[in-house]
Amino acid sequence: MRPTLAVFAVAAVAQWFLPLAGVWQHERVVSRGVPMRIRCLAPDPYDPLRGRYLAVRPEEFRLPRPEGMSDSGRAPVWATLVAGEDGVARIESLSLEPVSGPTVIRLEATGLYRDEGGDTVFVAWPFDRFYLNERLAPDADKLVAERFREGQERPVAEIRVLDGRAVLTDVLVDGVSIRDVVRRRAAETPPPR
């Protein structure tokens, strides 16, 4: 085989490897993971390569400093989620050591906040965006903003959790997928004259 063909073959395999690694890693979590729901905010930004999405920001982003956390406040942490009576999960405990369990997620502590009431750490969740069709995204953004203004219940992120990983599968409003809610509203709204 000529060297150029060999280099091309290696590059072609690498070009498949990247997307397929993502598919394999996340398909496993989606198909076998434990479903959980997390309350969140979701405004509507834009990614130049991947299109429109709702920026999913879980409400629990600042948590009590776990024991042994350095002053930099930067480290991987393991959060154990527990579903409440309303079906929405909350973080029950945060550990610097890996914890096993069906509802454990690995988060990244990104900084420390010192307070008289006790130190807290900021955490980054392993999902931050929910991609939407560009037709639906502006209406979804409007819907979320309206609900926030009117003090209604915030949207809920539906995730799947497996082996410390989490994949965002949907964003729900009153238990219904935001895609369906926006589509229904669009169908009910008469077209402008």
Binding site: A11, R50, L132
Partner: protein, 442 residues
Amino acid sequence: MSLLHHRWLAEQLPAWEREGIVTADGARRLREQYAAEPRGGLAQVIVGAVGALLIGTGLIAVLAYNWDDFPRWVRLALALGPLAATQAVSWWVLRKGEAARPWQREAAALVQTLAVGAAMALVSQIYNLPGKWTDLVFWWCVVSVPLAWVLRSNAVAIAYLIGIAVWTVAQSQQANWSRAGDVADVRIWFPLLLAGILPRWPGAELRDRPAPGSRFVLAASTLAGLLAVAACAGVRAEQPNDAFFWLAMLSAAVLLLFPLDRHGATEPLASKPEVVLGGLALVIMALIATYEDPARALVKSVGFALPLAWCWLLLAVVVGFATVAFRQGRFAVLAVAGLAVVPLVAAPLSADDISGWPVAIAYTLVLFATAIVLITLEFLGRQGAARIGAALITILVILRMADADLSLLTKGIAFIVIGSGFLAFNAFVSRHRAATPGESPA
């Protein structure tokens, strides 16, 4: 002589040989001396690249639409199908070897590159993967650059250069914003990524030279990347990062002094974008340093930069490149590169609380001296740049006149006199060049 002249010469030589104007041996030596890069059907290449670009970007836009009505497996097939198809086409083109036309190579490489990006983007869209778009750009560049090597694609090489510059600038901004160590270290990554273009230019046989347009992108991408590295090289948590100014000057000097072969050194300035961009960046920074506050900041930046390994690496490269330039007699670029050394000389002489004026005045004088050197070199028959020297003096005088506490009438008259002098000098240089055959350009 520019590449256009080389091509013109190559086109004329067969007729000259036939008419006995040059011997066969003379024509061969001329061809070797003034090698013309093969056109390879430039129009065809451009058409192929534009067609591929339209198809590929259309593909990305169609996929980015987010077909959420389709089940996941259909969307995955939509993402990966084009990748498989374009890889098959590229394989077919590669198998043709030298029989493949340049436009076929360009089109195949570019469409495949865009298909890779589309596949990666769609997979992360389907699974709502986090991460910035610049992370996607990084991996896209890494897995696509081999196509520029094996298919000898200029379009993919240019896209790669733009991609790595964008990624490096984004990392630098993130490092400055977060002032933390969890951002990729661009001091290591940018040189590595830039080295990724070497198998394309100059290639395994050290023969492939980028065309003028590609050369400009290569120089601009290198400058943007080096400036981005300079912007974050001194970032440390909770400490000021004031090393940028001098590191930026050294970076521009590295680009300006980049070694050229004998043929490259004698090309006109328009064919040397690294000299134009590096020199321009350096002169602009030096002009800024002719004001008090920037001058003080520049001298202070030396103190912040010297403890950094990146600074010493840049200094070592500048010294190495300057030595080569000196041996090649490229005194004009050496004179301009000397502007980067002024802060190093001024730093030990300046107390912490000293006014910036001594350095600002020193910079004005050094810039003036640089301009005189550029003019003198040309009139001594060496590589110089008389017009650039004159323009530099004119800009310096205008800046100082603008600062001066003079009446508007005085300033107006002075500007008229300077402008007239500049035009007269321009005409004089034109006459001098016309009267001096074989004048070496800068």
